[in-house]
Symmetry: none
Subunit: 210 residues, 4 copies
DNA sequence: TATGAATGAGATTTCATTCAT
DNA sequence: TATGAATGAAATCTCATTCAT
């Protein structure tokens, strides 16, 4: 029954278009401030018709987060499999993360507002998000253990990295001077450099203050 | 006329309490998702009475942002006046920023949702925010010029730093293992280290855009 | 106890000032759209203090209407006692009415929004208003009976007259070219002339149409 | 595509019903005192559903005024085109005005509360209202110039006429003895007679301001 | 699949009024 | 007398969602 197949494919395409529209809105105005009418308009559908593709607003958010978390998880897993130094693996993950949240791909809003999901969906997203964070943390920790990275709090450092990456959706303008790839490259360089011991140098390298 | 003075002080105290409650709510649930009822309840007032102290929700947001921006501006100005190396100045600003956004002080939400303000208030906040960012960027740029920091894009690096700092309100839990001061110290160390040339300057540096 | 007397007089003065302020507001924005805060501000009192002089908003409206109805009733009674022709008596009433509703005297809002009063007060106002209308109607009817006026529906004509007079508060501007007295004189001339038989003239004097 | 046409017509009908209900409420209780709930109930809709047809309360008022002003403008223009004496033209306008404000047609509230409109809508209504008043004033002025009417202040006289007409919505009861057409005829006769020189031109004429 | 109509719940905000001092 | 603080009720309006077609 190829007709059904074609309809299915069409439906799937539509769903991706909607997800993309929703992601864009969620990113730029936030979940609570984004109306279903707005999403529908952006996806060129009537508000009522939206409900033929998704059960509701929360499900849209869920799929947005699900989609980009999957993509980012794939990236971090590929990085972990690579036999390159921790620094290089971490840079790859950072570039992938930036590509994902700043690119025009559908669903790139994984970093946003988990609390707006109903409990069961929230749990599922949290599991993946924690897996993702843990994988990054493990790259950091591995670098520390191997001596490639300086000794530091892997957890806090990972949060700093993720913060720099996730916050980018707030200031990035697609029509600005830098491309997502520029941002990814610069962030990767800077954020990894902070894990590598500075030259024996001097008084300017550490804690100090009283 | 000490009676009037006392009444004024009382009113001022109340306003700070309300601001504090609002800031907490805005930080944890976002502006749009936070209801006036919620803020009123948190400040132990009836919803209607809230309007005796502030004209409306947007004014609350404005004062939150104004208050913490002022505090942070003071910190960054003090740092710029100091005759210490750029690294030390930057660390001081980072620690102050974290203290400000994670501390329990009223209004600590300057980094949030400028778009929800009406145009005139938005302009005023943006002016201050831009001043603040520019001051940090200047510390970074000064370090680059003097050779203390590696050559990099000062603007993007500043955004990365601010992202790491601002995002902390999303994951930080006051009852967790780390104190705001722990976070500030670790972030200062990590984020400044990334500006100092690493020793084994490998070929995998990956910046230096065209 | 002259002190009490002085306080009473003072209180009475204040009440008149408030009534005047309330009347001005009611006239220019209507009862429902006028807030107690607005009246209080116009009378230079705190909102709460207003309630020391009047029980509430409806009582203010009541006294406004009561005051000017009394004044207008006095005028119409004086006119009825006069032994002048009906035309002259009617003109006097019209001038007094205009003076009353356009002048700066307190309470000049009798023509407004009886329905906003609670039933008992409403009844009392309606009694007076009906007395007033009846007195005017009687002047009209007397003129008709005596042959001084043309034969017409006294009731409808009275409504037309009152409409012209009452509506003046909607378009009259105290800083405009005409004074209240100008308006009163012109209206008196025009509205009375309509009651006096036009010259035998022609086809242009009456019903006609089909 | 007759289906769409039918739906459109249905929607249009609904809008007229709502407008009619709103006009009735505004006329009898005033704009500020009329609640959206009330209008919704009168139009047999849920309050929320009202907003499917009109953007808000002010838009309802605007369309009420717009609708009846258009109708009245058409009447006054037709009258001006007629080659009958000024008296007859004025009578026609008066009858049309009364028909319009007292009839059960939708939107007949043009004379009400322009100040409750937002500035841009207010401007548009004022333009039309001024055109209407000017057209009536011109009929009066033409009669004066031609000697058909007595010499008088055309502006004030027009205001008197409009006041008599507009005020009628305040006292007219559809279930009373007089029909709107009775009122229109009586008002037309009386208000035009006042413009025609009375025979016994006594000294008590009292106009002719300095 | 597609959509205009419909709605209950809830948002922010205003208001007349009262209370405590 | 005077007032800032306080509030319950109600106002306008929005929103996610469902229904009927």
């Amino acid at each position: 029954m190829p007709g059904a197949g074609r309809a299915d494919r069409r439906r799937h395409t539509r769903r991706l278009e909607i997800l993309s529209a929703a992601a864009r809105s969620f990113r730029s105005r936030g979940f609570a401030a984004t109306g279903m009418r707005e999403i529908a308009a952006a996806a060129d559908l009537s508000p009522a018709n939206l409900y033929h593709y998704f059960r509701g607003k929360q499900e849209l958010l869920y799929f947005c987060q699900e989609t980009s978390l999957e993509r980012m998880l794939a990236a971090v897993r590929a990085a972990r499999r690579a036999r390159t130094p921790a620094a290089e693996r971490l840079r790859a993950v950072i570039r992938a993360h930036v590509d994902c949240v700043l690119g025009e791909m559908e669903g790139a809003a994984a970093h946003l507002e988990v609390d707006d999901l109903p409990a069961p969906l929230k749990r599922r997203i949290l599991v993946k998000r924690d897996l993702y964070e843990r994988d990054i943390r493990r790259i950091v920790a591995a670098g520390i253990t191997s001596g490639e990275f300086v000794d530091c709090d892997a957890k806090l450092t990972t949060q700093a990295i993720l913060g720099a990456l996730n916050w980018s959706v707030r200031w990035f303008r697609p029509d600005g001077e830098r491309s997502p790839s520029d941002v990814g490259t610069a962030f990767a360089a800077y954020l990894v450099r902070g894990l590598i011991a500075a030259p024996s140098a001097s008084r300017s390298n550490g804690r100090k203050r009283a």
